[in-house]
């Protein structure tokens, strides 16, 4: 009877244990769910989504009506593809209406300036599918006039200056059309063109309109296993339908104020996203990717995604823009999200979602900035959303800025303020740790670095701490070493002497 009771009790305990384990597993499922349900968030070290305060809020939503274009008897924005900001002037490539809209944005107000639909001094004088627009500091405007196969440059009064057309060059396939899609112009007037159907990188034109080659081409990746498979195990028909070894095309580009090109690409295999794909790149003058990736994962937008979701897969970066201090912002057109990264490739914030409210997107396609304000163009909603940083967002920028300028005390203070608003913000811990390290408070710095999972910096702080510790405790260490080494030696000696004495006695007895 007793036995039976014990056994049943044991079984019950076992079952309880199993149930507890199952419950524990239930909480584990959070780990796989990195797909954010909140508007603003950030990824922590474990690549889990952590809710965060909003870094930006909607200041204004601009569409044709708010610009007063209805009163002017014009059509609103239709299928706009791009926007560009120069000073306070905003240029929108209103592609669906074959025109460029220009307006000024000041103090939270948008004031309509003009519609550019006709230019003087060239044929054709109108645009046909203007996919992108660029304006330099002198008021000259460049338009990627896609279906007229040209990039045209006009001055402030819209007089034709020059045009960049299909290059007469062996490297360009003469049988295919020249379809400029995105453009960027550097300070020397060189034009970089991202053309549809060109996968050799960006086409580069000198300011005298001569074509001088391509930059930023993807290296062709060669896979031996793939090659053997295709060569020996596939029929000719199969080979024809499978993709061939071609480098990927770019999606968009942005010229930063230092003359580097930020580029995004969306065409890559899902498995490569953390490896060779490099969806965000920063190209130098000879087309090498110099983007700094000092975080655990490279900057790729969302780090994990729900399998059952319709919007499955890596973020598709439609556009990119670079703010001050090497901070850059990209927009994911698939999930309608914006991601901010600092110059070290560490995510500052992420926000946005799909929807119909202000601050959400249907198909965010272009992005630019004015100071710290962000302008996002939505192709389907036909409007432009202006975001201004909140107190929290501004604090992050200021803390980064003061740190880069070398004002570590101020930076420390600002990071502590950020930490008060968001205790999950590892960059704040890292920032505080850095300034503590400079103040030679190693132990505290180590604490903060550990929380931020900054291994290298922790190592640096720990090295100093260890040095000081050894210097302080050197006598104890020596004493300990003596205890460990000398004492057993002496004990051994005593034991041996004893043994010898016993042996001596025994030999005496035998005799």
């Amino acid at each position: 009877m007793m036995m039976k009771k014990t056994v049943s009790l044991l079984l019950a305990v076992l079952l309880l244990c199993i149930a507890a384990c199952a419950c524990a597993d239930e909480s584990n499922s959070m780990k796989d769910d990195g797909f954010s349900t909140s508007y603003s968030y950030i990824y922590d070290y474990w690549e889990d989504v952590q809710m965060a305060p909003d870094p930006y809020r909607v200041e204004l939503v601009i569409d044709g009506t708010t610009l007063g274009m209805d009163n002017l008897g014009g059509k609103g924005i239709t299928k706009a593809q791009s926007l560009f900001i120069c000073g306070n002037d905003v240029y929108v490539a209103d592609t669906g209406n074959n025109r460029i809209i220009q307006f000024r944005y000041e103090d939270g107000q948008a004031a309509f300036t003009r519609v550019i639909s006709e230019i003087q001094g060239t044929e054709p004088s109108t645009f046909n599918y203007p996919a992108d627009v660029f304006a330099d500091g002198n008021g000259n405007i460049y338009v990627a006039d896609q279906n007229n196969h040209r990039v045209v440059m006009v001055d402030k009064e819209l007089n034709f200056v020059k045009e960049f057309t299909k290059p007469v060059d062996a490297t360009f396939n003469q049988s295919s059309a020249f379809l400029p899609n995105k453009i960027a112009v550097d300070v020397a007037g060189r034009v970089y063109v991202l053309a549809t159907n060109v996968n050799k990188g960006f086409m580069k034109y000198e300011n005298d309109t001569t074509f001088t080659g391509y930059i930023g081409a993807n290296a062709v990746k060669f896979n031996m296993a793939d090659y053997i498979w295709k060569k020996y195990f596939m029929s000719r028909e199969q080979r024809a339908v499978t993709e061939s070894f071609v480098p990927t095309e770019y999606e968009n580009l942005y010229m930063d104020d230092k003359g580097f090109i930020y580029a995004t690409t969306t065409v890559f295999k899902e498995a490569d996203v953390f490896g060779d794909a490099n969806p965000i790149r920063r190209l130098n003058g000879i087309g090498n990717d110099i983007l700094i990736k000092n975080d655990v994962e490279p900057p790729v937008g969302d780090l994990n995604w729900k399998r059952e979701s319709l919007q499955y897969g890596p973020s598709k970066m439609a556009d990119i823009t670079a703010l001050d201090n090497d901070i850059y912002v990209t927009v994911d057109r698939m999930r309608g999200r914006l991601f901010g990264y600092d110059g070290q490739g560490i995510m500052l914030w992420a926000f946005g979602t799909k929807g119909s409210m202000d601050g959400t997107f249907s198909r965010a396609i272009a992005l630019d900035h004015m100071g710290y304000d962000l302008f996002v163009l939505d192709e389907m909603k036909n409007n432009i959303t202006v975001f201004t940083p909140t107190e929290y967002g501004q604090m992050i920028y200021d803390a980064t800025d003061t740190y880069l300028k070398g004002d570590y005390d101020q930076s420390d203070k600002l990071w502590r303020d950020v930490m008060k608003l968001n205790a999950n913000y590892s960059l704040a811990f890292r920032g505080i740790g850095r300034s503590l390290l400079r103040q030679e408070k190693y132990k505290e710095a180590m604490d903060y670095f550990e929380r931020a999972h900054a291994r290298e910096e922790y190592g640096r702080a720990f090295k100093q701490y260890r040095k000081l510790w050894v210097e302080k405790n050197i006598w104890w260490i020596i004493a300990l070493l003596v205890l460990i080494i000398i004492v057993p030696l002496i004990l051994g000696r005593i034991k041996r002497t004893k043994w010898e004495v016993i042996m001596h006695e025994q030999s005496k007895i035998r005799k």
Binding site: C21, A24, D25, K31, Y45, R455, Y458, G459, K463, R466
Partner: protein, 231 residues
């Protein structure tokens, strides 16, 4: 020395003496691990054929291995290992090592028995447990040492970890060779065969459980049907 041994033999009769003898033998077999890992060829032969090892010592090593594995995840400095401590289930972690270990031992026994392997299951299990000893004696201090190293000195840490793993793997190889009285080539082949065997075991277990759950589901639905009809 012989005098001490005879003393043990004479006191076997009493109950306390029996326990003491067992304890001595256990201690001796624990100490013998140091001989095994430094002289594997002689060590493993004597371990099995001269009865120098005990099952108790083998259990101890396996248990220590599991414990150290968990301690390593929990206590190693985050500069070298970062385990998501908030998600770790200690029992799960230990089980994920224990189960493959046992399945591999069973698979090895099952395969080598068919091909003139001299080792019994007990011998294989004991040998493999003794092969874990370098892992234990290197990794345990490394947990402590990792907290005294900086990130730049991480190569020291990783070298020591590699040494412990390679040493243990080498011991496992030599151990199987000596236990089964095989040549090196045959041992190597049977290591691969063992992995295949383990896969087969896993497959059979999975099939068994899925069939079992189907059977249970059948009776459950049968019962429900009856209850439904009766009402």
């Amino acid at each position: 020395m012989s005098k001490a041994k005879s003393v043990n033999e004479t006191s076997v009769q009493t109950k306390g003496g029996k326990a003491k003898a067992w304890l001595d033998r256990y201690k001796d077999s624990l100490r013998y691990a140091l001989h095994v890992i430094t002289h594997p060829f002689d060590g493993f032969w004597d371990l099995v054929h001269e009865k120098r090892g005990t099952m108790a010592a083998a259990h101890t090593f396996l248990f220590l291995f599991l414990i150290i594995r968990v301690l390593k995840l929990m206590l190693t400095n985050f500069q070298f290992i970062s385990a998501p401590v908030q998600y770790i289930n200690v029992l799960e972690e230990m089980g994920s090592l224990l189960l493959p270990f046992l399945v591999l031992c069973i698979a090895n026994w099952a395969m080598t028995t068919l091909f003139e392997g001299k080792g019994r299951f007990k011998d294989i299990y004991m040998g493999m447990c003794y092969a874990l000893v370098p892992y234990i004696i290197i990794q345990l201090p490394m947990i402590l040492i990792s907290n005294m190293l900086t990130f730049e000195e991480g190569s020291l840490y990783s070298v020591m970890i590699s040494i412990s793993v390679i040493w243990s793997a080498f011991l496992a190889f030599v151990g199987l060779m000596e236990i089964h009285d095989y040549g090196p080539g045959k041992t190597f082949i049977f290591m691969i065969v063992t992995i295949v065997g383990a896969a087969v075991i896993l497959f059979l277990v999975l099939v068994f459980f899925s069939l079992l759950s189907d059977a249970v589901a059948f009776f459950v639905s049968f019962y429900r049907e009856i209850v439904f009809r009766l009402n």
